[in-house]
């Protein structure tokens, strides 16, 4: 209960106009801080929904695959330059961002992750790593402005954000691959 409440607080904080305006003013903060934090808010709130609607999650997400699919769809959707642009121009789309990231992506991630086997988990992380490398490449070397609302320079910064994040994930995968926790625990 407690963590759901903190998740709600975090969500309210992120949606508050001054905070939202500030975070959306810098492209990389928009995509790499605001959006993940919305997902985290959703993950925290997930406890509440899992308890409240446990039957629902059991029926529809028994093996985690539907949930994780929903998560991927939502995440990929928000990584398109076009959708970011629209979130800044249309209130309706911005509203959808504030709803979809926590409540569709965040909750389903929390509910699904534990249900996946390690092959599933690793494939998800690997696909996101590849996706991030690709997007990093796109944003850094794209010759044109991809977003109406952000300058090319901001785009390049975002590209480096993607590349460094994917380096973080590669380190994690390497750690998982080379180090066998059962040798230590």
């Amino acid at each position: 209960m407690n963590q759901s409440f903190y998740g709600l607080l975090l969500w309210i904080f992120l949606v508050a106009p001054p905070v939202a305006n500030f975070m959306e003013s810098v492209m990389v903060i928009h995509m790499h801080m605001q959006m993940p934090m919305l997902v985290i808010a959703g993950m925290l709130m997930a406890r509440f929904f899992q308890k409240r609607f446990s039957g629902f999650f059991e029926i529809w997400n028994s093996n985690g695959v539907p949930g994780i699919t929903l998560f991927i769809v939502i995440m990929v959707y928000w990584m398109l330059p076009r959708t970011m642009d629209e979130a800044l121009t249309s209130h309706l789309v911005e509203g959808f961002k504030f709803i979809s990231l926590p409540f569709l992506a965040g909750i389903s991630l929390r509910d699904s992750w534990k249900k996946l086997n390690s092959f599933g988990k690793n494939s998800i992380i690997i696909s996101f790593t590849v996706l991030f490398l690709g997007l990093g490449w796109l944003y850094i070397w794209s010759p044109v402005q991809l977003c109406n609302n952000y300058l090319v320079f901001q785009q390049v910064t975002l590209g480096w954000g993607f590349l460094t994040t994917s380096i973080g994930m590669v380190v994690y995968l390497g750690y998982n691959f080379f180090i066998d926790p059962s040798a230590y625990e």
């Binding site: 320079f153 910064t157 973080g168 380190v171 040798a183 625990e185």
Partner: protein, 562 residues
Amino acid sequence: MKMEADLIAGFKEKTNKMLGFYTEDAKLSKSYIAVAFIALLVGGFLGLLQGLNRAGLLELPTWFNYYQVLTAHGLLLILVLTAFFTIGYFYAALSHNLGGLLPKVRKLAWIGFYVKLVGFVLAVIPILMNEASVMYTFYPPMAAHPVFYIGLALIVVGVWLCCIGAFIQVANWRKNHKGQHVPILSYFATGVFVLLFFALMFVAVEVLFMIIPWVFGWVDTINVMVARTLFWAFGHTLVNIWYLTAVSAWYVVVPKIIGGKRWSDLLTRVVVIALVIMNITGGFHHQIIDPGINAVVKFMHVFMSLAIGFPSLMTAFALFAVFERTARRKGGKGLIGWWKKMPWGDVRFLAPFIAMLSFIPAGAGGIAQSTNQLDQVVHNTMWIVGHFHLTLGMSVVMTFFGISYWLVPFISNRVLTPQINRLGVIQTWIWTIGMICMSGAMHYVGLLGSPRRTSYTTYGDHATALGWDPYLMLLAVGGTLLIVGVILQVYAVFNMMFFAPKGETEFPIAEEEDNATKTPYLTERWGIWIVVMLIVVAMAYVIPLTEFIVNAPPGSPPFKTW
């Protein structure tokens, strides 16, 4: 006869093992600690020369000018003293906690020792030749003789070897002790070496890929802002590595010395993790006045560096709780009365205790400096010098002194005699008074505008500059007291190392509280914490570094400004 001697030797070896004492490892730590305190002695004398010069009492000769002295003082005390002490101390802890160092780990640490010494000698030669008066920050576009940077690079490699050695040691222990938590002092050591390992990457990139090609003339110009940023990503982390080292003694050793129990194991480990994750990004608070970073990003960075205040406050709370509980258990009464139950006459307690107290004003000053508008007033003035003599010269170094009074006897198989303890108590008070005078004077004269890194001048008898003189005189008085403190401390260390009576000294590690909650195993998953750290680093550095590189101004050729 021979057999009997062997038997006695074997027996002695066994009791030593039971006490967690390993002769070979002790020799290693002893060498590190000896170098650290020699650096203190030499660096302290150089500090005195600076103090006397700043007060207008001493003019330095042209063949050894103020800026040479300052560069050497900075390097000796910031790099040599702290690095060698930290490594000597934590290697002693790893050896004691984890059943002795593995032979290959010991070898790595020895190679690291000599690589660092060679590097240091290489760095000092150009300083003495007046070819490297670039201060310990070696900001481009000031350019020193190439040998200076090669020396620095070797020091980096030497420290890396020690980091790798520590990782191997801890990994090996964990393999043989599945599911157990790494003992607390070794846990601190792991955190410190993880931080060192990653922080050094930033200077390594700066020195190897930016400065060395530039001073050799392979490239014409250097990107000054990128170099400064890489330096402080390392420099600031180094500061917190000292702090984490001191904190390890506060949490683990001091409670034992006063006869108490350790504060929550879980929260202690959380403090270590928090410092590891949030540290590197604090580097930007050294660049609050730098151009080229916009206000929004600076604001984010101030937030990130103030975040480190949180584990610091936790530490303060935890330690005072431990003191009060212990004193009350010993019959201390009342709101203030329990203070009397503390072992004020024991230097192993007194020195780190005063060190902790000094962290209160030191931390407050740090928070002030993190504020853009306030930093405008004190940036590059003597205030800053006052600040780090309080943090480093008092909070950290006095903790190191306090540690030396049990660590040196422990690794030397000798004991702390009452005489040396008394000497230590006197030393502690001299250092306290000296540092309060010196650092107080520095803070105040900085507010009046006296610049740092500037040898004595009256600016043509300008009234403002003349107004600084009384404070600079107080600075020199403090500095003189401090050099007395340095001499007493170094004497005590070498006395304990070579001349004190033989005997066994305990490695003081406090036990957990009886009703302690179990620490979750998550705290041991360094892989996760390192990934989180890398992501936090990316969050802080991607925006400004992209800015500096993509929108770079023309680079700068090397300059010799002296």
